[in-house]
Symmetry: C2
Subunit: 238 residues, 2 copies
Amino acid sequence: MRVEIWSDIACPWCYVGKARFERALAAFPQRDQVEVVHRSFELDPGRAKDDVQPVLTMLAKKYGMSEAQARAGEDNLGAQAAAEGLEYRTRDRDHGNTFDMHRLLHLAKEHGRQDELIQRLYRANFAEERSVFNDDERLVEIAVGAGLDEAEVRGVLADPRAYADEVRADEREAAQLGATGVPFFVLDRKYGVSGAQPAEVFERALTQAWGERSPLTLIEDGGADACGPDGCAVPPRQ
Amino acid sequence: MRVEIWSDIACPWCYVGKARFERALAAFPQRDQVEVVHRSFELDPGRAKDDVQPVLTMLAKKYGMSEAQARAGEDNLGAQAAAEGLEYRTRDRDHGNTFDMHRLLHLAKEHGRQDELIQRLYRANFAEERSVFNDDERLVEIAVGAGLDEAEVRGVLADPRAYADEVRADEREAAQLGATGVPFFVLDRKYGVSGAQPAEVFERALTQAWGERSPLTLIEDGGADACGPDGCAVPPRQ
């Protein structure tokens, strides 16, 4: 079974939701047969790379909140994160463009380091003091820490086209699948879970998707020469 | 869309079938949105690693054929391979255990080199003179040629448990999906194609699976605290 998770590094509910999902997955009996893939999504794709703002200022402006309301929202997120054992700085975080991080996540995917990198990016953004935005050296440090090759990371950061199509393709696919927000979890392209739902909801989704894996419909040709001696002979399973 | 291909290096129809599938994929308009994953299958899992036999001898014994019949089968395969532009030695190939090759393919998957490695293994087995069986140095050479790290490859070959569970899990899954032979192609866990069918059959399967991608069923919780300011807000798509 495959679970695809659309998320953004700048999305605190994605950070919390990933931990909730992982708690459900750890308790799922068939967890060894579940493959997790991270897909790109930008909450704020129109923001210029050098347009970095404090989160509280951005929230107040975007949603017309008072700073006190924005602070209360962050405090709530801090409590939700703490309940999952995650560190979360409720003050003085930055908000900015995440396109380069998504491009690096696609590089990481090719090297089997995607989960390691997204976890380190989340931690850096939500728990550490130094901003992850508009700071290539910071991204190099994080990506190398996740096991990527420094020269390759610098190459991707220096070439804005590298993995750009892959990021855009993920974003198009989210829209096609009807995602109305992130985090957005898709199980075997059949079930969706929107938002950082409680672990119990993920448990239910895993169980349901697992139980309803449907038999395949075979597509074939009448009398094609497709198999032969020791071609398609399958020995009895042991 | 995802296509999973169960196959074995020792399976000539898998070698031919992969080329036919790739011809169909190259002509498929949404090919950039198709991800291909190789899954493990052993035609002859009970064979000891050092039990290497000429293919013609194995076929004659396994199917009670005369050597002339076995040779005619190989000649047919050689013609089918040639029609796909593949080299194929119809005489003096070896047959043996492929478990270590499948373990290496799982290592390669983690580094994004799976397709490169399977292609080189097929070529080595079907087109080159030197046997790929019971010869670790040969496998090291092929795997390093596919871009894997030599020390890592040697480490996997030296430890029979490395990626063994992954190979067995693939094989169990093939049985669960109802595979009755290899190659076995699975599209989005919905459609199956068994055998090295003509490229037209793969074209039809790709088109059908693409057209019938079903909308997701959302699983959710009533009033959970799953989103909030800048959590699940999705900007209008551009």
